[in-house]
């Protein structure tokens, strides 16, 4: 059984295709492992002892998948980490999940997350924090912390999450796995419980880059139910590159100096040297507006959230607190159902949109967003990819940043500029600093996922990191 769990998802799929592994055994092994999870990674684990019928020749070959709580799954609890949706069982399934299931990946489990994806540590989960498998006194990152911890601890072969300001890439970095945030529109948002609709994007969290490409390829595609989704312009291939010859990697000084922990910076520079050895040109670039991305993000995302979360009003689904009149029912339901960070962001967003403040806050943030996108457009004139550390620090102790919202928000410093411009980026494991995983981020132009995955694959081979905490990262 344990050998089954050691296979990467792509290896397991290949073994199923070759007939040497039975999908039923794979399901049983992972279900047993998921039920034994002690990191609080899961909000729900399938009760089916035998797996749903799977076509052996399907692309994902019966390799089960774990899915972040906020994806609607028909008849299965979908709570987005919130009390206000406790026990909610939606009447339909998100397109991204539907695509994975029809490509042959049965739903193994749902994973815990920060409430409505608002957070960088998964401590804002109404059902308790998720622990980091590398050190249980530390956070796994967030908001897709349950998905990251599940994959890093081997409790799931692979998982999906969502990234609004870094919620796939940052937990992937802090847990020593691979996280891909696709181009905005590449994956349908239909059935994802919305946080900030102009930024939210679903993507894979996996043990390696090959798994990332395989899972991503099964998720993409235009969806009539999401009018902002776009057709991916080419098939998603499995990466095979082992060098970076002819590629120019742009290093922005704004994201690779001040504010980054020394240990994280050291591993980043080591990987730049490896990239140079693989034939890449390392070039200095400027993203002059990137230092203002965090401020723009923490106006735009809460503003959109304040509108999106208006739907939680105790009328159609979820919690209701009874009251004598309608307005009191709304305000009490929301007071009881939302946690402190969600209330903070709703308040911030409502304030930024309110009469007299709109132009100075929300309006100005939208203009800064334009400038950030222009910075990237200019950068692509002189480099193929932008590279940086994924997170300014390694996994921190539980409770270390819960009393200071801005200290928590600073976790997103290197990841937020990218979704503001709608661009794709990957985080790959970049070795350890102080015994904890760090991430190497590669961002590219819209729809450059295939090229990003190839570059990430070459660098991954050179870095030679083993994502298993049990083996301490040594391959």
């Amino acid at each position: 059984m344990s050998e089954l769990l050691d296979l990467t998802a792509a290896q397991a799929a290949e073994a199923v295709h070759a007939g040497s592994v039975d999908p039923g055994d794979l399901w049983a092994a992972y279900r047993e492992r998921a039920l034994a999870d002690d990191l609080n990674a899961f909000s729900w684990v399938s009760g089916d002892v035998s797996p749903p019928e799977v076509e052996r020749n399907a692309p994902l070959a019966g390799v089960p998948v774990a899915v972040k709580d906020l994806f609607c799954t028909e008849g299965i609890p979908s709570q987005a980490g919130s009390r206000i949706l406790e026990g909610y069982r939606p009447p339909y399934t998100a397109t991204a999940v539907e695509r994975l299931v029809s490509a042959g990946a049965p739903l193994l489990a749902k994973t815990h997350q920060d409430e409505f994806a608002m957070g960088s540590s998964t401590e804002n989960c109404a059902f308790g924090p998720v622990l980091n498998p590398w050190d249980r006194s530390r956070v796994p990152g967030g908001s897709s912390g349950g998905s990251a911890a599940a994959v890093a601890s081997g409790a799931a072969p692979w998982a999906i999450g969502t990234d609004t300001g870094g919620s796939i890439r940052q937990p992937a970095a802090l847990c020593g796995i691979v996280g891909l945030k696709p181009t905005y529109g590449a994956v349908s948002r239909y059935g994802m419980i919305a946080f900030a609709s102009s930024l939210d994007q679903a993507g894979p969290l996996t043990r390696d880059v090959t798994d990332s490409a395989l899972l991503f390829g099964a998720m993409v595609g235009q969806d009539p139910c999401d009018s902002t989704s776009l057709a991916f312009p080419e098939p998603v291939g499995l990466p095979s590159a082992t060098d970076l010859r002819g590629l120019r990697l742009g290093v922005p000084e704004e994201l690779s100096g001040e504010g980054i922990e020394a240990g994280v910076l050291a591993t980043f520079r080591e990987s730049l040297d490896l990239a140079r050895d693989l034939g890449a040109d390392i070039v200095d670039i400027r993203l002059p507006h990137a230092p203002h991305a965090l401020a723009a993000y923490y106006l735009i995302a809460p503003a959109e959230a304040s509108a999106n979360l208006a739907r939680f009003d105790g009328v159609r689904y979820g919690l209701r607190e009874e009251a004598g009149d309608l307005l009191s029912m709304y305000t009490r339901t929301r007071a009881t159902g939302f946690g402190p960070e969600v209330k903070r962001r709703i308040m911030l967003g409502t304030y930024a949109l309110s009469s007299g403040y709109y132009d100075a806050y929300y309006g100005r943030a939208q203009k800064v967003r334009t400038k950030i996108a222009e910075d990237f457009t200019a950068a692509w004139e002189v480099c193929d990819f932008m590279v940086s550390p994924t997170s300014p620090g390694v996994a921190f102790e539980l409770g270390a940043k819960t009393d200071d919202p801005w200290a928590m928000y600073l976790n997103d410093y290197c990841t937020v500029p990218i979704p503001l411009a709608g661009l794709p980026a990957i985080s790959i494991p970049n070795g350890l600093a102080d015994g904890l995983p760090t991430g190497f981020q590669i961002a590219g132009p819209a729809f450059s996922e295939n090229r990003i995955l190839e570059a990430a694959h070459a660098l991954e081979q050179a870095i030679g990191f083993d994502g298993s905490p049990a083996r301490g990262g040594v391959r």
């Binding site: 069982r89 203002h292 106006l299 159609r316 689904y317 209701r320 004598g324 308040m347 309006g363 801005w406």
Partner: protein, 98 residues
């Protein structure tokens, strides 16, 4: 620093009831975050810069307006806290809020 009245006003707009403790904490925390956010003021004049509300340039996504099956009523009502007679029941709006 946001005043207590400002926080109460925003909470009312956001349909959130805040306890006395929450009110006080929220005023401090929001003021702290806004202090950092206000640094985007340092960028100077952005007159003439077009705002970006969305990165995908989709003008309109149209489909034929044809009737098709939707969720059955009882399924749509299944998660409602108080479904009555095929609809959602809510308390009376009562008097207009002041």
């Amino acid at each position: 620093m946001l005043s207590r009245d400002q926080v109460l006003h925003v909470a009312r707009l956001a349909r959130l009831e805040l306890s006395e403790d929450e009110l006080e904490r929220m005023a401090g925390e929001l003021s702290g975050v806004l202090g950092h956010i206000e640094k985007i003021g340092e960028l100077g004049d952005l007159e003439g810069v077009p705002p970006t509300s969305h990165v995908v340039a989709v003008e309109n996504a149209l489909r034929a307006d044809e009737p098709r099956p939707c969720l059955p009523r009882e399924v749509a009502l299944a998660s409602a806290p108080d479904p009555v007679a095929g609809g959602f029941r809510v308390p009376s709006p009562g008097a207009a809020p002041v």
